[in-house]
Amino acid sequence: MKIIFHILLLFSVVTLNARDYYVYCTAESEDEVALIRFDGKKAYVEKRIPVGVWPVEIEGPHGITVSPDGDYWYLSMAHGLPFGHLYKYKTGSDEMVNRVELGLFPATMGISKATGLLYIVNFNLHGGHSEASTVSIVDPDEMIEIERVETGIMPHGSRLLNNGLRHYSVAMMSGELYEIDAMTMQLRRTMSTAPKKMKMNKMDHDKMKKGAMDKMKHKMPPEKPTWVYPHPNDKLVYVVNNGTDNVVEIDVDKWEVVRTFKTDKAPYNCEVSRDGKLLVVTYKGAAKTGVWNLETGKEIAKFKNTRKVTHGVVISPDSRFAFVSVEGIGKQPGAVEVFDLKKLEKVDIAEIGKQAGGIAFWKMVD
């Protein structure tokens, strides 16, 4: 019996060592998507896939996701004339299948496990930041836009509950969280992403620069939420308040903020590990990545990234590794940095094209 146990143990160790992780990551200022393989120790750039149709204009690949069955990856191309597009590629061969025109600056997206539809925010980074934008709902099989649901000003982040029934997004300039019924395609609820006690009248107006108030004529809340990610238990969602340096935990049933995590400077994206224990937050302004224990509500590790402008994060389904995209500045290459969430240490880095941004997990192969 002991021998069998040791054989099994050895087998599992060998298996773990032999596991390859594949992620796709966009390079927004390179018009490329990189396919990265990580073998548990080293990260390899397997491919740099040119995307877009204009050889001499930057079209800006921004958001990316992989279909639940892993057969296709979807990419938002932010810049258009003027409307951006959603592209569909086959995984593996990475050949383009189709594209569909959406709104202004389509960005983050998610696919519902319940409906199979793709929900993507039209960020509308352009313009005066005074008009509400939309979430486009796309049939990813036929690449047809079925519906647009109006949410807030500069919507960003687009994720669904694990059961696929509710869609969440935030709007930077509205400071709100939006819940869409994935089935009926209708906006169900909205709420402020401000931590419970934080109100506008607590802002120190004396310290504000002259003219700053003029720009806040439309009462732009200070939170500037940039991301939302549901807990695997489907009872909680985490919203990243980029403008006030915190992440708020929201109880979906109560529809209220239940905990606030004070973070480092300018948090941007986050993801909860599949086992529900850890929250990884990228700190865009601090060029760091934080790992939070969701049970204790404490930050248990903080990694300095290799370059500035930390962007996105995706965690392997086995909850073992976090893959963090870091944009860099100017002509500096973008990077995907890999962190071991068990040992809480940096493992490796893969350099890709400029302005690494959207990142999506494709598969694990034993």
């Binding site: 050889p55 930057i58 810049h79 199979g116 313009g127 079925i146």
Partner: protein, 683 residues
Amino acid sequence: MKKLLSIFLFGFCIIAAQEKEEVKKDSLHFEFEPDSLFLHIGETGEVTIKLLNQDGELANNPFYAYGRPRRALESKPRISDSTGIAKVTVKAYKPGKLSLSVRSISQKREDRIVDKMVIQVPYPPLEKIVFDDPQSKVYVGTAVNYSTTAYDQADLVRNNTEVTLTSSNSDIADFDMHGNLNANKSGKITITAAADDIVESVDVRVVKNPVRKVTLSAESDNIRTGDVLNFTAKTLSRSGKEVDGVPVRFSYSGKAEYGIGLPASGMLTAEGKFVAETPGLYAITAHSSGYSARKIIKVIPRNVQKRVQVVGHGTISDVNTSDLWVWPGIGQYKGKDFAVTGTWSANGEAYFWDVTDPSNMIIIDTITVDARTVNDVKVSEDGTVCVITREGASNRKNGFVVLDVRNPFDVKITAEFNDDMTGGVHNVFVFDNHVYAVNNGRKYDIINIEDPSNPFRVGRYELSTPGHGVHDVWVIDGLAYSSNWADGVHVVDVGGVKFSEKNRSKIQFNPFLAKAGQGSPGNPVKLGSMADRNGHNHAAFPFISQSTDKFYIVTGDEWGNQFGMAGGFHFLDFSDTDNPKESAVYQVPEAGSHNHWVHGDTLLASYYQGGLRIVDISGELLGDIYAQGREIAFFLSSDPDGFMSNRPNVWGTMPYKGLIYFSDMNNGLWAVKLEDDQTMGTR
């Protein structure tokens, strides 16, 4: 053994169950009641849709229903109940063959069942048919074309309407299948246009044709390729009196000077304008009333080709280069010459060059801003201020940067302007202490830089068309020429220079200046426009032909296909500002157009992989400029040490002091000249 058998049986059961499941999936199907619909615009209808299993029972699986195309057919609700039944109300908003699509909801793609039903929405009934400028008098022995326009009850033009033209007496005159009325003998007829139940008629008098002779004349019988020759045809009676209103048709044939297979090609308009592309002998014929006249024209080669000599080149080997500007130094640097180039998808740098000795151009300063692309660079008329654009800023707050270039050896950043320019500034122009900044590809903002350290917005120009965009803006004499993709070129008065005794010059031939005087930077006023049906309008440059005084706007395309960049330059005749017409095009078949400059009667064309092209655009312009041998020279700017070795990719060009400067995206800055004694340049 027993264990093995158990495992085998267990596996078999799983496979069998899976097969059974697949059979079940395959048997799901949709049922529509009714199975098709016919709705008029604005009408609603109801459809009951069921998702059934192989036994015809409800599948207990929900599904989606949605109208296609979006915004043409509204459908509610979007989702069935959990048993797989939905009563969907549809409302038609647009005509055509629409569909109500359905798709079952399942996690696995292969499990999804899709179907659709057709909903026919007819176009609104026709309202009227209008004859387009019909002739009421037709001469025997001639053919006159009649065309019509059909409008529906929504007052929309219905191009797809089949309109039948008939004559009340086919012995007198009858239509062919192309709408030409052939007049056979004198008499009165009524011609009728009919479609559906709409009828429109016009009375036509077919009169005796007095024409007994046709004459044909032209200003010359010896021209070069590309020269436009105007033919005048006259129809004369037996007594030699000119008969007006008798249609004349022109045709040509010819024999090319060179080769057996080379055709004698050219263009002959309905008005009698002829331009040849190949040298040779051409016979131009005018036909009318069974008579004709012919004139033989000799066409000789245009012979404008010249060789290009490289004067200087500054290699940029580590990044892509973008646009350029060249200007004369001021103050203590008077007598020296300088250039600035931007960088593309790189580190946010602009390079400043001393090009006083263009054979030894050297970088004398570098400005780095928070950007990845400095797409455009411009210097003010007085040489004090340079403006560079920013895209790809690390904080996504893009815009433009104002630089003090009075000392180009030590350029200083004076101010940044980022307000409401998050999406990036792609192109700018500096004119009369104002920056015209293409903002987010949607509009251009006008920013006062009288005090360069304190720029502030004074105006904005934005179109209102759906999905509008703008790519570039160029300002001359107080008129802004913007390039707006499908919306084409727009001419806007931002403080147009009015005519006066003092400024009487060639600018008087710009008809837009005659209309100017209402606008200012704070109040831009549109004076004219011309849409681009291809949606490729990328750049525009006004052009007063020095040889003809005609006013054109030369627009450039930017677009690509699977073979790389493509497109050309279009000559839009704006002599009549309300009725502009494209008269000619210069298009290199194997390359893609980018920026351009018109100097005198010469087009300097940046042609990406096609290098720099220098084109003779003197005289009247008609037809295919490229085929007419008007190309003076082309230069492929290869550099083995470039960012991309030996791969020309010309971005922008500018004439300066007898030289042609241009930037190559793959290898930096160049100065070339034509090997002749004609001086080119603005100064």
